[in-house]
C-alpha cells in the first residue's frame, strides 16, 4: 500500500450460494486515476464494483477505502456514488431534485444544496432542464443528470457501471470525451466497469481485464494492447494473431517458437528456457502481406485469403493458414492497393521477429 492508494482489495472473494463470482481479488486503485474494469458478462466486474459500493458483502477478504476497512460500513456511509447502467434516476423528482438528493440526505441546507445543484447542472450543460421531469429528457441528457447527481457531493471516487451502454454510437463517443475531461478536471478517481474495449481503452489510465472472477491483467491500455499477459487477454482483445508452440534455439543461436505452422523467430523471451511451452502474439497491424514469398524474411507464413473488412481508412484482410488457423492483417488502403486481393488466393504473411510478443504459458 502506497500513499497513492485510494482503494485496495485484499484477498476478496464473493460467492453466491455455490457460485464463485469473484475469486481472490488483490489489487489497488490509485488516487485520481481513471481505472476501467473490463470483461465479458459474468466475469465478476460488476460484482467487484458493487462490493466497493457496499451493495454486496465480500464472502472473504478486506476492502479498504483510504486505508480504512469498509466491509462493515453500510452503503449510505461510504461516499462511493455510482452511475448505474439503468441510470436509476428518480422518476417522481425533477432534474434539480434528483441532483439535490444526495445533499438533502446529508442534511445540507436548502439554499446551499440548490446552489450546488445548479452549479453542477450548469457544468453538465443541462441547466435549462432543471425543472423538467426525467421522462422529458433524451438519453444523453439523462446521462448528464446521472453524472451531476453523483458528483454533486464531490466525492473522492465515482463508480460507473456500464453507463454508456444504452446510448447510440455517436453519442457514446461524445460522452466518452465528456467523462474523460470531467475526470481530468475534477481529479476524482473513476472506476469504470464495461464490456467494451473501445470505451475502456480510450478513457482509462489503467485497465483491469477480468475473466471468470479473476484478474487476467492490469496495465495501461498501451501495455495490454502490445503485450497481452495471457492467451485469454490476446484472444479477448482480438487484435493479435496467436501461435502456440515450443521454444527452441535456432541455427543462428537466436530463439524461435516451433509451431505446427512452422518455426518463427522471436527476440522477446526474457526468462524462458528452450523447451518451454509458449504463445506468440503478433498484432494485426504489425503483420505484412506479400504476393510472392519475400526473400530475407525469417517469419513467413503462406495463407489463403478468405475475406476482408473495411473500417474507415484501414482494412483487415482475413486469411486461413494450414490447419484452418485464421490470420488477420490490418493495413491502409494504399498499401493494399498494390496486392492481388482475391478470395482464395495464396498470399504470404510476414512479420519482424521484434514485433512478436511471447506469453509464457501453454
Amino acid at each position: 500500500m502506497t500513499p497513492d492508494t485510494l482503494v485496495s482489495f485484499e484477498g476478496v472473494v464473493k460467492r453466491f450460494g455455490g457460485f464463485v463470482a469473484v475469486q481472490r481479488l488483490d489489487f489497488e486503485i490509485r488516487k485520481g486515476e481513471f481505472l476501467a474494469i473490463m470483461g465479458s458478462s459474468g466475469c465478476g466486474k460488476t460484482t467487484t464494483l458493487r462490493m466497493l459500493a457496499g451493495l454486496e458483502a465480500p464472502s472473504e477478504g478486506v476492502i479498504r477505502l483510504s486505508g480504512q476497512p469498509v466491509n462493515d460500513l453500510p452503503t449510505w456511509r461510504r461516499d462511493t456514488p455510482m452511475v448505474w447502467q439503468s441510470l436509476a434516476l428518480f422518476p417522481f423528482l425533477n432534474v434539480r431534485e434528483n441532483v439535490e438528493f444526495a445533499l438533502k440526505m446529508r442534511g445540507t441546507p436548502k439554499a446551499e444544496r440548490r446552489r450546488r445543484a445548479e452549479q453542477w447542472l450548469e457544468r453538465m450543460h443541462i441547466g435549462e432542464f432543471a425543472e423538467r421531469n426525467i421522462s422529458q429528457l433524451s438519453g444523453g441528457q439523462r446521462q448528464r443528470v446521472a453524472l451531476a447527481r453523483s458528483l454533486v457531493v464531490e466525492p473522492e471516487i465515482l463508480l460507473l457501471d456500464e453507463p454508456l451502454s444504452a446510448l447510440d454510437a455517436a453519442l457514446k463517443v461524445r460522452m466518452q470525451s465528456v467523462l474523460k475531461n470531467l475526470q481530468r478536471e475534477t481529479g476524482i478517481t473513476f472506476v469504470y466497469v464495461t464490456h467494451s474495449q473501445s470505451e475502456a481503452f480510450s478513457m482509462a489510465d489503467r485497465v483491469v481485464i477480468m475473466s471468470r472472477g479473476k484478474i487476467e491483467q492490469i496495465g495501461t491500455p498501451q501495455d495490454i494492447y502490445r503485450r497481452p499477459g495471457t492467451r485469454f487477454v490476446a484472444e479477448f482483445l482480438g487484435s493479435s494473431n496467436i501461435f502456440q508452440g515450443t521454444l527452441a534455439r535456432d541455427a543462428q543461436g537466436g530463439s524461435a517458437l516451433e509451431t505446427p505452422l512452422g518455426s518463427f523467430a522471436t527476440e522477446n523471451i526474457t526468462g524462458l528456457e528452450a523447451g518451454a511451452q509458449a504463445t506468440m502474439t503478433v498484432l494485426d497491424t504489425k503483420t505484412h502481406l506479400a504476393a510472392e514469398r519475400p526473400a530475407g524474411e525469417r517469419n513467413v507464413l503462406a495463407a489463403r485469403m478468405i475475406g476482408e473488412e473495411f473500417v474507415g481508412s484501414v482494412a483487415t484482410i482475413y486469411l486461413e493458414a494450414a490447419g484452418g488457423q485464421e490470420i488477420r492483417v490490418q493495413k491502409g488502403h494504399d498499401q493494399l492497393a498494390a496486392l492481388p486481393l482475391e478470395i482464395g488466393r495464396e498470399l504470404f504473411v510476414h512479420w519482424n521477429p521484434a514485433d512478436a510478443h511471447i506469453i509464457a504459458e501453454a
Binding site: L55, Q85, M105, K110, R149, V153
Partner: protein, 272 residues
Amino acid sequence: MSAHDPNRNRTVDRGLMIYLVLAYAFVFAPIAASFVFSFNSDRFPSLPLGSFTLDWYRAVADDPLVWSGARNTFIVGVIVGVISTLLGFGAAYTDYRYKFAGKQVYLALALLPPTIPVIILGLAMLAYLSRINLSGNALSVIISHVVVCAPFAMAIIRLRLSQMDPALEPAAWNLGASEWAAMRHVILPFCAPAIFGALFITMALSFDEFAVAWFVSGLNETLPVKVLGFLQGQVSPRINAIGTFVFILSMTLVILAQLLLSRRDARPADEE
C-alpha cells in the same frame, strides 16, 4: 369514422361491438333499473312508470336506522381502508425487498383470504371472535374486513413495486439515504399512486361487503346488512334509493383508484 383499416373485418367489428353493448347491458340493467325505480312514485317496480318522486330518498334520509348503518359503514370503511393499506404495503414491500426460505408459502398465505367462500369466512370469524369476546361490534367488522381487504391492497402495491427499477432503492442508499430515508424519499413517493389506489379500493370493498359483516356485526349493522333487513321485512323502493347511493359511492372510489393507478410517472406534490 376514419379510413377503414384493411386488417380488420367490418362485419366482425360490428358483431363484436354489438356483443359488447349487450354484455354491458346485461351487467348494468339491474343497477340501472334500481336507479330508475328509486325515482318512481309507484310502490312496486312495474311498467309503465308512475311519476317522478324523491319520496323514497326522503324516507331513507328520515330513517335513523339508515343513518346509523351509514355511519357504521363509513367508520368501518375508512379504518379498514387505512389498516388494510398499511398491512398490504408491508406485505408487498417484504415480498419485493427480501428473499427468504418459504417465500412462496408466505405469498400464498398472504393472498389466500379472498379465495375463501365468504360464508365460511364469516362463520369462522364469528366463531373465533366470539371466543375472544370481540364479536357483535364495529371492531369485529373491522377485523374481519381487514382480513378480506388487505390482500387486495397487497396485490395493488406489489404490482407497482414490480414496475420499479430495482436499482432505484440501492441508488438512494448509494447517495447517502439510510434505509428509512430511502423508504420515505424513494419507495413511498414511487408507490404513492398505488397506496392511494389501494386505500380507495379497500374502502369500497368494505362499504359493499355484506356476508362477513352480517355474521359478525351484531347490533352495529353496516348499511348492506341493514338493506337485507329491509328486504326481509317489506319490499320498499327505499332499497332502490339506498342501492343507488351505495353504488355511486363505491363507483366513485373505484374510479378514483383507477385514475391514480393508470397515471404514468405520477409525481406527488412538492413536499418540503
